[in-house]
């Protein structure tokens, strides 16, 4: 694929739960090496949109084109195989399971007939903890359960997992929620590093400052519609903040 060709194109994506239409025709393009922020109020449909991209939800209508090919995602496995990794808002960890099980959940390292290569999973988890995740507390090992970890440590595990599989598109849904300042800094640094590796990201965050510092482009979502798209150079922090307030109060933005 050529560099000019976008990595992901969504055309007129709709999604209804029962009679409620949550996504009302979304068009979105993600370029190669681009970090795109999705911003919008709670309930705007951000999480639903990314779950359509990862195959958790089937869209009711619309087209997804990834690396130039139209795709239908039967399940999450399918999107992972294509090179889409996700750090879900809910983190998608299992509390009572060890780290080495959580990192490889759903795509375990196996030796034969589906028997786990526990040694390899532990070794890789340990490596990842020290390099990618920065989990260096002495109290945490590959055998630790997720339950005892702090919010930031849990987020590190979720991010480390997304990192391990070397995806082309990494999606992060409110990754800084509930984190300390220091932990937040780490997560934002990680998001920026995605661009340096020539990969793409979709980044959802409520903090406009995080968004403005990190993303190349902002896509504003409101009640299931894209109501504005701006390049970072087009808007200052303050203009973005003002726009969000305006959207909140008036229910629309003037482009």
């Amino acid at each position: 694929m050529s560099d000019a060709e976008p990595l992901l194109v969504l055309r007129n994506i709709r999604k209804s739960f029962g009679r409620i239409e949550v996504l009302k025709g979304i068009d979105l393009t993600i370029g190669k090496g681009e970090i795109v922020a999705l911003v919008g109020d709670n309930g705007a449909g951000k999480s639903t949109l990314i779950k359509v991209i990862t195959g958790v939800h089937k869209p009711s209508a619309g087209e997804i084109v990834f690396k130039g090919e139209p795709i239908t995602l039967k399940n999450v496995q399918a999107s992972r195989l294509l090179g889409i990794e996700t750090v879900y808002q809910e983190r998608a960890l299992a509390d009572q399971q060890e780290l080495w099980r959580n990192i490889f959940a759903g795509r375990e390292l196996t030796r034969f007939l589906g028997f786990l290569d526990v040694k390899a999973q532990k070794r890789e988890t340990g490596r990842l903890m020290r390099s990618g995740m920065g989990l260096t507390s002495r109290a945490i090992t590959v055998d630790s359960e997720v339950k005892g970890l702090s919010g930031g440590e849990k987020q590190s595990v979720a991010i480390g997992r997304a990192l391990y599989f070397d995806a082309d598109l990494i999606i992060l849904d409110e990754p800084t929620m509930g984190l300390s300042l220091k932990e937040t800094e780490r997560v934002l640094a990680f998001v920026r590093s995605i661009r340096e590796q020539g990969k793409s990201a979709i980044f959802i965050d409520h903090n406009i400052f995080h968004v403005h510092d990190t993303a190349d482009r902002f896509v504003i979502l409101d009640r299931g519609r894209v109501v504005g798209q701006f390049h970072r150079s087009e808007l200052t922090h303050q203009q973005l903040v003002d726009m969000m307030i305006e959207l909140h109060e008036a229910g629309q933005v003037a482009r």
Binding site: E90, A94, D95, R107, R138, Q197
Partner: protein, 338 residues
């Protein structure tokens, strides 16, 4: 990738210490301790009986009648689900085995059709729970009555004698007695039980499937987002339990040589009690096959043990209740702390 960890921190990580072996295996250790205490009491209560081989032989004969189901039920309970219908599947599968054997004199055919009943019974439970969305406790109350009711209709309450099966070469494969010299005779079904324990244990903790069972039981939504086929995993667990129930009925029938319309009925609570005494959590996500194995040994030795120490059989249920209550209380406290 930005590595925030400094090399000094890397060094520290090399020598880190996580949860200790004892702590990680606290449930297994607790139940093995319970078994040891229980046997100490039995030995003190009746030294002669508990130092002779006979009582252990009778344990080995009867344990597999419900023990294999307890191992399989550990998967279902670890999912955070429950199955109340397996004793009825046991009954229906047993009826199929007996009638087909009487009609055709073919052990393999009877055995195969019997297992099919287990597969179909488990499949129906799994589909009701995953595709229709009925909570498992409700769905399996339904199928429990359904299959037992079907047995009643089919048999009109009549039993089926199958004494002629003792001449079948397959008979010994299931319940033959293997002499090891002196008074030591191992019933074949106990070897099957041991094999099942190893098989289920390895699949549980060392196979992708067991990992998925743990993950789904722990957090179903997370499992879905990680691309685990949640429904498939659940259905498979119900099928495993159904097939185990059918398989177990073959041991019972070959030993008893008679099918009753009530065959399997008494095993519901003992089987589930073995799982819970073993330390598998009803909340899902945490289970232990070693725990269930020891739980089976405890449940099986309780009744003869109570008699051996000089109490009447009327005490049995009371002691069951005491043991179950104490053990689950201990586990709950452990979970709270851990």
């Amino acid at each position: 990738m930005t590595s925030v960890a400094s090399s000094a921190k890397d060094q520290a990580a090399e020598t880190q210490h996580g949860p200790s072996f004892l702590w990680r295996n606290r449930f297994q250790i607790a139940i093995i301790g319970m078994l040891v205490v229980l046997y100490a009491i039995f030995l003190i209560g009746d030294w002669r009986t508990y130092t002779s081989f006979d009582i252990y032989r009778s344990f080995m004969i009867s344990i597999p009648f419900f023990g294999i189901m307890a191992l399989a039920a550990t998967y279902v309970v670890t999912l955070g689900e429950i199955d109340l219908s397996f004793p009825s599947i046991y009954g229906l599968a047993g009826w199929v085995f007996s009638s087909v054997y009487v009609a055709t004199a073919s052990f393999p055919l009877a055995f195969l059709l019997c297992l099919m009943v287990g597969v179909v019974g488990g499949l129906i439970n799994g589909l009701l729970v995953t595709k229709i969305g009925i909570p498992s406790i409700v769905a399996t109350i339904g199928t429990m009555f359904l299959w037992r009711g079907l047995v009643n209709v089919l048999t009109q309450g009549q039993g089926i004698p199958i004494a002629q099966i003792t001449n079948d070469p397959w008979h010994a494969l299931f319940v033959g007695q293997i002499p090891l010299g002196g008074p030591v005779v191992i019933p074949a079904q106990f070897l099957w039980f041991l094999a099942a324990a190893i098989f289920f244990g390895v699949f549980f903790k060392r196979h992708r499937f067991g990992g998925h069972v743990l993950f789904v039981g722990d957090d179903e939504q997370s499992a879905r987002m990680m691309g685990i086929h949640v429904d498939r995993v659940k259905i498979a667990c119900f099928v495993i339990l159904g097939v185990s129930a059918a398989f177990s009925s073959v041991f019972l029938l070959n030993q008893m040589l008679f099918f009753w319309a009530t065959t399997g009925d008494g095993y519901l609570l003992t089987t589930l009690a073995a799982v819970f005494i073993g330390g598998t959590s009803v909340f899902g996500g945490k289970g232990t096959m070693i725990g269930t194995f020891v739980g089976v040994l405890i449940i099986a030795s309780l009744e003869p043990g109570i008699i051996a120490i000089g109490l009447s059989g009327f005490w049995t249920q009371f002691v069951y209740g005491l043991l179950i209550t104490i053990s689950v209380a201990i586990y709950a406290l452990m979970l709270k702390r851990g």
